[in-house]
Symmetry: C2
């Protein structure tokens, strides 16, 4: 059953006698050593609160007790209960996103997922993006407020998941948290000030384990919290979790992973070496830049096809059938751009072809495609996709393609040398690889090499909770990964301009599209 961070042991101990007057704690530790054939690491750390209750727990249960052991920085006995409670051992994994906080409740004894829940990060009241929150912390006391908000959000998720699963929050013994560098700092109450200022220095990269209560988490009083490490200011635990989930760090062939979020972090490497660089790729996918762009939440269109006969869009909305659309999330924007191009409504420069095809119109001198007419839209106004939107999206895809190209070329490699191409992060989870290829955002390689990792930040946090070895792995990944600054030279700019075409000015790069 693996090696979860927390494990319970039911012990039937022999009561003390004149022949065996060992101290209570020594009796328990002896019992643990016998219960575990593979043997325990030498030395147990026992918090006072647990040591203090052990005598009573032993005697009220005739020395048949369940002991909870946390394998964190030390091997620690974090609970003792009368009788056999060994099946009640739970953990919570958290993807601490800038916008959304997602939690998964895990049964650590069974290695099974019991529920998943998402809440909006309450810190959003103090800034939509990271930079605003860092600035908010300039005023004394605000950092502490953001810390409490992060902990409070996790507590709310823990409580709701525990209630749904019919367990108590006290039965949750460990929390693992994955997020970007700034989110990790805010959660731990560490000043993020220098993260966004040259030379971009975080307070710490490796965080390790904490007593959950010290962070304001309402789980078991001696429960542990693990925060995934980061590598400098740009590469957070969420990205490292993606590497962990992809498994690229264990393979001899070279693979690539793009974490498509606000930025696009690119990791490339294998079991011998790992390189990471961060490009500014994502904003157009996040809403705010594209007129009807929005985050992936109920009411967002997530998938779009254009009917080849009518040239009218067919779409699906997050939240299901009855839901009227409010806008389009990143995956829908990529779908739409690809479909407009593939179905001949726009040309390679991203301009609507003349004469206008059905659904295309000009409003106030600006050409746009009507995705949803007012009567079908949530807000009662047309949802449209303008030429300006297309322009922004093309810039984004061009930036990402150029970054991918520069990185692989500087390593003396071609895209075709890659064994796998992993898409991770908020957008990576939903992007249709064939559409991303069609617009020239990612290279035209065998589609079977593309892998959608889904919410790899959350999956990595779950992996860590279920396996001490995974914790060691992600810490090792953080130690061995090298950060490389993207070289924004004149070459880069001319390549970027060449990529501002659908799929690319050099059509030979996309033989399957053109």
């Amino acid at each position: 059953m693996g090696d979860p961070l927390v494990k319970k042991y039911f012990l039937k101990l022999v009561p003390p006698s004149e022949e065996d007057p060992a101290a209570d704690l020594e009796r328990v530790i002896r019992g643990l050593a016998e219960a575990c054939p593979e043997g325990f690491p030498k030395g147990f750390d026992v918090p006072l609160s647990v040591a203090a209750k052990i005598p009573a727990v032993l005697r009220e249960s005739r020395f048949e007790i369940t002991v909870t052991v946390s394998f964190s920085d030390a091997t620690r006995i974090i609970d003792a209960e009368p009788g056999d409670t060994s099946s009640r051992s739970f953990g919570l994994s958290i993807d601490l996103g800038t916008t959304n906080v997602v939690g998964v409740l895990l049964d650590l004894a069974e290695g099974r997922q019991l529920g998943e829940l998402s809440e909006v990060n309450p810190q959003i009241a103090h800034g939509e993006d990271i930079l605003n929150r860092i600035h908010y912390c300039l005023i004394k006391g605000n950092l502490e407020e953001l810390q409490r908000q992060a902990a409070g959000c996790i507590n709310s998720i823990a409580l709701r998941l525990a209630e749904a699963a019919g367990i108590g929050v006290d039965d949750i013994y460990c929390v693992s948290v994955s997020g970007n560098t700034t989110m990790a700092h805010l959660f731990l109450g560490l000043d993020p000030y220098n993260i966004c200022r040259a030379p971009y220095v975080p307070v710490a990269n490796h965080f390790g384990f904490f007593r959950a209560a010290d962070l304001g988490l309402d789980i078991n009083p001696e429960g542990a919290a693990y925060v995934l490490p980061n590598v400098g200011s740009y590469v957070g635990g969420d990205v490292l979790a993606g590497v962990l989930v992809s498994g690229m760090h264990e393979r001899s062939e070279v693979s690539l992973m793009v974490d498509v979020g606000t930025n696009a972090e690119i990791v490339i490497g294998n079991s011998d070496w790992l390189l990471v660089c961060a490009g500014a790729a994502g904003p157009a996918l996040e809403g705010g830049v594209v007129k009807f762009g929005m985050r992936a939440m109920p009411g967002a269109i997530e998938r779009i096809k254009i009917n080849p006969e009518t040239l009218r869009p067919e779409y699906s909305v997050i939240g299901g059938q009855g839901m009227k659309p409010k806008g389009m999330c990143g995956s829908a924007l990529i779908d739409l751009l690809a479909e407009l191009f593939l179905k001949g409504l726009i040309d390679g420069r991203g301009k609507f072809v003349e004469p206008h095809k059905p659904g295309v119109r000009e409003t106030d001198g600006l050409r746009e495609y009507v995705v949803v007419p007012a009567e079908d839209a949530y807000a009662g106004e047309d949802i449209v996709f303008t030429e300006a939107d297309i322009d922004n999206l093309v810039r984004t895809k061009a930036a990402m393609y150029t970054a991918l190209n520069v990185v692989t070329r500087e390593l003396g490699m071609s895209f075709h040398d890659l064994a796998e191409f992993n898409l991770a992060g908020t957008f990576g989870a939903y992007i249709a690889a064939d559409k991303a290829v069609a617009i020239g955002m990612v290279p035209d390689i065998e589609l079977s090499k593309y892998r959608l990792l889904g919410n790899s930040s959350l999956k990595g946090a779950c992996k860590a909770l279920l396996s001490r070895e995974a914790v060691n792995e992600v810490e090792r990944i953080a130690s061995r990964i090298t950060y490389k600054e993207l070289n924004v030279s004149t070459d880069f700019m001319s390549e970027f301009r060449a990529a501002m075409f659908l799929p690319h000015t050099d059509a030979s790069l996309f033989p399957n599209i053109v």
Copy 2:
């Protein structure tokens, strides 16, 4: 300068740059590794409160900071201050006695003692002896009260010593505490209930390190507290501290140590083996049993000689010249019994010889020796030493001698095989070895083999604070020492009766006295 539990390092760090954008914490840890040629153990534990203040401390001091490292269960950075404060590193050693709590303030940078102070243990309000306090804990909430009282007493001593030395309590980074098994349990808030009930089981034997603040100690917020281990219910950290101070655990020759307190714990052994047994020897020395017996505190007579001409006593009083005597402490009682015997005022059976010598009188049919006439005494009444007192004292000395004899004989040894005979504990510190030999309390061996260890509980606590190796030593002593029940057989009782004579019914055992 040894290896104190806490050490400060002044670091001149290079500020971050584009070439070296390491995280703040990593910069500090790198600096520490460079500052310490012998190298640090891998991995530093950094409490959040310290990590959180490091960025500001670094920048307000242009990256020249002093870091405090605690070498406890883990290597932990427990403080960071701007500038060079490396000379301000202090620790507090505590002998947590049932009656008195004694503290020593140590300069850890210099390895120098700055002050010593004693306070009455405030727990005494809930029972003079250990048994009363254990019973007091039967009522809910009382254990917590005794815990707070112990911590409060240590805080008071810390504050007074710090004020006298012109330092702040925040400059105290570590406290070491030595006491008997029950006192250690009460200080840690661990239920002592099973200590005094068969089969006499403590909650724990090895306690190790704690965050001082978690115990209610007001020293540096991240300061550490170390509690010396015990071996079962009878052998506390105070006794193990005595072994540590004696050094008998390192010698190839066999030595013996008696800790003369309420009980008399006897330790015998060498670098290969260590044995400990506890006999009930001490009560007559503690006051309460002897009419004018009292604890060693101001007003107690501590030394007595009988003038061979006048047969009148000459004495010294704790507290100095002007102090009128209130009674006699243990060392004075032993002196007096020996002098009465050596000067021929009493016979081998402990009876005043007929006709009475000067100073001896009979009051209400009970014979007694007047030590201090009423006009010279604090309470304005005669301080006397009665035949009943003598009887009690003879029982005590007989019990101790018999225990010593049984233990060595069962090991197939003679007293003359012992390389050293150490006297430790509250009374051991003051006893005059020649007088103790004269009454047959301890064997008639070369006087040069006797060593007075003084307050070895306190000295052991100091040693631990000044040396990590000493901490390892005392933990090893606790692990390797074997507890042996004294065999109270018919033999023991007949030997005990034979020892109820001054110095012994078998005069050949005391050739230098008789």
